[in-house]
């Protein structure tokens, strides 16, 4: 209780400096505001989680069924029909370690791209740092991710595949996946406010991305010459990283490619934040 009181005092004293509203003013206290509204971030995420499976019969099971079915189909098509190499691993395991980060990325991206439009009413009636909306949308997908992670655990037990020390690096790759979807989500959600075309662009990106990312196959099938170019897709680095961390020693991480993926993610995040901040003030006028 005392700490809350102290916190309040600090916040109140901060607010003694007057707030100035002016056209085109870059607010210095913007990120302080983001921090101050952190509870809203959790409340929005909490709302989305509560609402997500309301009035569905099997509820949270959807988070298990979707990746599981996709994995089965992919194993059948790429493993059994196309006979792609599996780097000496059970094909379902190969697919599912990629499926997890891909699902995380894909659903975060679509959720955050549509988040501003979905909360249009709030945006035109209340002030808060808008950055909270697309970023909190990612949390929901993250919860789904954690649930479907249990499938991976089950698969690994089934195939007697024990992870080594590398699994400790897994959070890093999860963070990169989230950052990639946040960066792209910031761009797309801001663009979506003005141009509703992006409502159609996003599902297309997600659909196409599933096939150009190494989800159904190992990236070792990509010719070495094209490997660097292939890594421009930031999810290539993330998926390779996932496989490297989980599937002990059977796959290797192509470092130059990973660095490119990482650089692209950083670029997306920085430019996404920049564009979002630039257009944020007009959201209420055009949404």
């Amino acid at each position: 209780m005392r700490s809350i009181e102290n916190q309040r005092k600090i916040i109140l004293s901060e607010e003694k400096t007057p707030l100035i509203i002016e056209a085109g003013r870059t607010e210095r206290r913007y990120f302080r505001d983001v921090f101050r509204y952190r509870e809203l971030f959790f409340f929005l995420a909490w709302r989305d989680i509560l609402v997500r499976y309301k009035q569905t019969a099997i509820g949270i099971l959807w988070a298990l069924i979707r990746p599981l079915l996709t994995m089965i189909v992919f194993t059948f098509i790429f493993g059994k029909l196309a006979h792609l190499p599996s780097d000496g691993l059970p094909y379902p395991l190969l697919v599912f370690t990629a499926m997890l980060p891909w699902q995380l990325f894909a659903s975060s991206l679509s959720e955050s791209s549509n988040s501003l439009i979905g909360n249009a009413n709030m945006i035109s009636k209340v002030y808060f740092p808008r950055l909270i909306v697309p970023s909190s949308a990612i949390v929901v997908s993250f919860v789904d991710f954690l649930i479907s992670f249990s499938i991976l655990a089950g698969l690994m037990l089934w195939y007697h595949h024990m992870p080594g020390w590398r699994i400790l690096t897994l959070p890093l790759f999860i963070v990169i996946a989230c950052a990639a979807s946040l960066g792209a989500g910031l761009w797309l959600s801001a663009l979506n406010v003005r141009y509703r075309d992006f409502k159609y662009v996003v599902p297309f990106i997600v659909q196409l991305g599933l096939y150009i990312s190494p989800v159904g196959f190992s990236s070792s099938v990509v010719p070495v010459k094209l490997r660097l170019l292939y890594s421009i897709n930031p999810m290539v680095g993330v998926i390779d990283g996932f496989r490297w961390a989980v599937l002990n020693g059977k796959t290797f991480l192509y470092m130059p490619g990973f660095c490119i993926s990482l650089a692209i993610v950083l670029l997306l995040c920085v430019s996404g934040t920049w564009y979002f901040r630039k257009t944020e003030k007009t959201f209420a006028d055009v949404i």
């Binding site: 007057p18 509203i21 003013r25 809203l40 709302r47 709030m122 009636k125 209340v126 509703r196």
Partner: protein, 435 residues
């Protein structure tokens, strides 16, 4: 002490599209525009500048409660949106020396699937409350909202009254230094409105908070605010004592040139929709001459000219009168006219007139609202602020008193007085003894 709100030369520009009918700007439009403007300058074709606010400057001191009034489209809501940082001004500068909470709509962010309890937390967070504050005030909020029994019911099953009560209750327990409130009290029943106004009054008067309040309810503005600001066409017309500003506003809305008559030339620009367009509305006092005043002792006719745009419409014109304090005075339906009662209206221009007899309305300013209904009956078009007019009291009274009579109506009623007995001194006792 420095003013808590300092506004300097605020203007806000919007671009309004004309040519393109699409609601959303698409990339194709943008590209098309770019290609178009490469050849020659054609930007003007697509958008026109519209200044919602022009050069507004004023100051508000701590603890002051300010009522902002003005006709529709005067820029009131835009001003509040700028103050609450939802949109930024095109030019100018605002300095705020306190935390602002704005209530531009009741129940922003309420999620229909969530329960009342969950929505209290969500809405509180959206309005900028901390979780700890919400927990502390939770019981108070619930008590104020009077929905204890339904706290764990999803709000989509609430009646609209319950919904509004819960939403206002959350907002009423915000504790900012500056509270910005748009016309949100137009919802809810009269009793709850009263409670809300009481709460706002309490916030302003007893807690020394600064309140900015937009409303069309002049009574509420006068009761709640000490200072008034009148906006008109995006400009500040007057700032000062609330009573003076309100009377200026009511004055301007009634004494405009041609205020007895409003006309719209073409069905494209006239108020209305695809079913009904209003061509004009006018008020004609009985008797010769068109420039005379409307007085209590003479009747007058309210005449509505409208286009019916669809064939075979069973139409009912409904006339309502309100005082400027929004007290309803009367409602009259055109079905009282037997001839048109069952007949469908074909397309065309119609004139409906309603005669208000002498000695019905008291002296004062009234608002005419016209509904067009069909026989279902559902509203085809609701013309809320069709016209304002004033009734003058030019009655020659045999009284040395010239104040306004109380009440909305001032009919001439029958009085009979007679002398019962002659003796004055003991009459009362005797009357009682006798009766």
């Amino acid at each position: 002490m420095a003013p808590i709100i300092h506004i300097e030369n605020i203007s806000k520009k919007y671009l309004i599209g004309h040519q393109s009918r699409e609601k959303y700007l698409t990339l194709r439009d943008r590209i098309g525009n770019m290609i178009g403007s490469m050849g020659k300058k054609r930007q003007g074709r697509y958008s026109e500048e519209f200044w919602a606010l022009q050069d507004i400057s004023f100051e508000v001191n701590q603890g002051e409660s300010v009522g902002i009034i003005g006709p529709n489209g005067a820029g009131k809501s835009t001003l509040l949106k700028i103050l609450s940082r939802i949109t930024e001004p095109t030019t100018g500068r605002v300095t705020l020396n306190g935390r602002v909470a704005s209530l531009l709509e009741v129940g922003t962010g309420f999620h229909p699937e969530l329960t009342g309890r969950e929505n209290i937390f969500l809405n509180g967070a959206i309005l900028g409350m901390r979780k700890a504050d919400i927990i502390k005030k939770f019981d108070e909020i619930v008590a104020f909202s009077e929905v204890e029994k339904f706290l764990d019911t999803p709000v989509k099953r609430y009646s609209s009254g319950m919904y509004v009560r819960l939403a206002f209750a959350v907002a009423a327990h915000l504790e900012p230094e500056i509270l910005v409130v748009d016309e949100v009290l137009a919802v809810g029943d009269a009793q709850f409105q009263k409670k809300c106004l009481g709460k706002m009054d309490d916030v302003a008067r007893n807690h020394g908070r600064t309140v900015l309040f937009v409303s069309h309810n002049m009574q509420a503005i006068q009761n709640l605010c000490s200072t008034g600001i009148l906006l008109k066409n995006g400009k500040m017309e007057k700032k000062g004592n609330v009573l003076q500003v309100v009377s200026t506003y009511l004055g301007t809305t009634v004494t405009q040139p041609n205020s007895r008559e409003r006309r719209w030339g073409s069905p494209d620009t006239a108020p209305g929709n695809e079913t009904i367009r209003v061509h004009g509305i006018c008020i004609k006092p009985d008797g010769p001459g068109q420039t005379q005043q409307i007085t209590m002792n003479a009747g007058f006719t309210i005449e509505i000219l409208f286009w019916n745009m669809v064939s075979d419409l069973r139409l009912v014109v409904n006339l309502c009168l309100y005082t400027v304090e929004d007290t309803p005075c009367l409602e009259s339906l055109s079905v009282d006219e037997k001839e048109w009662n069952t007949k469908p209206f074909s397309k065309g221009l119609y004139r409906s007139a309603c005669h208000i007899p002498a000695y019905l309305l008291n002296q004062g300013t009234y608002r005419v609202r016209i509904f067009f209904l069909n026989d279902s009956p559902s509203t085809l078009f609701d013309f809320r602020d069709a016209m304002f007019f004033s009734v003058e009291d030019l009655d020659e009274r045999n009284l040395p008193w010239y104040g306004k009579f109380i009440g909305v109506v001032h009919p001439r009623l029958q009085w009979e007085t007679e002398k019962v007995r002659d003796e004055a001194d003991t009459s009362i006792n005797k009357l009682h003894a006798g009766g």
